[in-house]
């Protein structure tokens, strides 16, 4: 398996994702600069957190036009796995790969703390190593994580089991307590919390590891 971590100017969780994949999981991993027109021969793509283009205009709005995003859209269209974390989630909603939008947190504060998430759909290539309804501890670090979608979109998402994770105690005002969403086909996941920050007990937790393990098993076979 080969994983690709996209790097935009302003990405700052790219090395954390690289570490989780390469050193903790032992997966061959490459960085892919946003100016690249092709993802190459990777089997999975991670769009990491940070502040791509300084969050100018809107979080993720400029990054969605980077050359590499055209190939990420093609890759996702082939049903292959793409996960966007934090700013990566914002890039994926802006690019239209995921429904909804992420707005300023309800109380306007930057939130940096560990939160509890409930796994709402454990039948995907990202969540298969969790139990349905399992509560996990994953840190958040964002200013714009307030998930919004109109009522019709939310209904469709619920019908299609597109909510991957919900906050147990909603920190940011997200509609329906949504912390992570899937596309209809379930091969694209976006989430505000940072699973790559809890993949070793040395880091204070391991609840993020099953996500990367599930992804690896999906690609290489369990």
């Amino acid at each position: 398996m080969k994983a690709g971590v996209i790097v935009f100017p302003g990405s700052n969780c790219d090395h954390d994702c690289y570490h989780a994949l390469k050193h903790v999981l032992g997966v061959e991993t490459v960085f892919i600069w946003h100016k690249e027109g092709s993802l190459g021969d990777v089997d999975a793509v991670v769009v990491p957190g940070g502040f791509s283009y300084g969050d100018y205009l809107r979080c993720g709005a400029i990054a969605k036009n980077s050359p590499v995003m055209r190939d990420v859209i093609r890759f996702a269209g082939e049903g292959r796995p793409v996960v966007g974390i934090c700013n990566g989630f914002q890039v994926l909603t802006e690019s239209g790969l995921l429904p909804g939008a992420l707005m300023r947190n309800r109380h306007l504060k930057f939130l940096c703390k560990s939160v509890q998430l409930r796994v709402e759909n454990a039948a995907t290539c990202f969540t298969a190593r969790y139990q349905q309804g399992q509560v996990i501890d994953i840190p958040i670090a964002h200013h714009d994580g307030n998930y919004y979608a109109d009522a019709a979109t939310l209904d469709t998402m619920e019908e299609n089991q597109q909510v991957a994770f919900r906050y147990v105690d909603n920190p940011n005002g997200s509609m329906s307590d949504i912390a992570g969403v899937l596309n209809k086909r379930k091969n694209v996941l976006g989430m505000m919390p940072h699973p790559e920050r809890v993949v070793e007990s040395l880091l204070g937790g391991t609840d993020g590891l099953p996500l990367f393990t599930a992804l690896k098993e999906h690609v290489v076979g369990a």
Partner: protein, 81 residues
């Protein structure tokens, strides 16, 4: 030609910044303020003289980049110059 683009949140989309500003206005005793919505204002210098063509070009810019139409509306004003 100068295009002025106003990007505003759609009705029904909660605006936490607007709410905080409204709270501050009330704290300053501006009780007449009833609601505040925060938006963005952009000035774009556009090549072209045909207002219809410029308007449709700027509308494409708004749809594809300047506004996120999931949560925002946009309004365009053209100024000859």
């Amino acid at each position: 030609m100068l295009a002025k683009v106003y990007v505003t949140l759609k009705n029904g989309v909660l605006d936490p910044q607007g709410k905080a500003i409204l709270g501050s206005l009330h704290a300053m005793d501006f009780q007449s303020a009833r609601d505040v919505r925060v938006g963005k204002y952009l000035e774009i210098e556009v090549n072209g003289t045909d207002p219809e063509l410029v308007r449709s070009e700027v509308a494409e810019m708004a749809k594809k980049l300047l506004a996120n139409t999931v949560i925002e509306n946009y309004r365009i004003e053209l100024v000859n110059g």
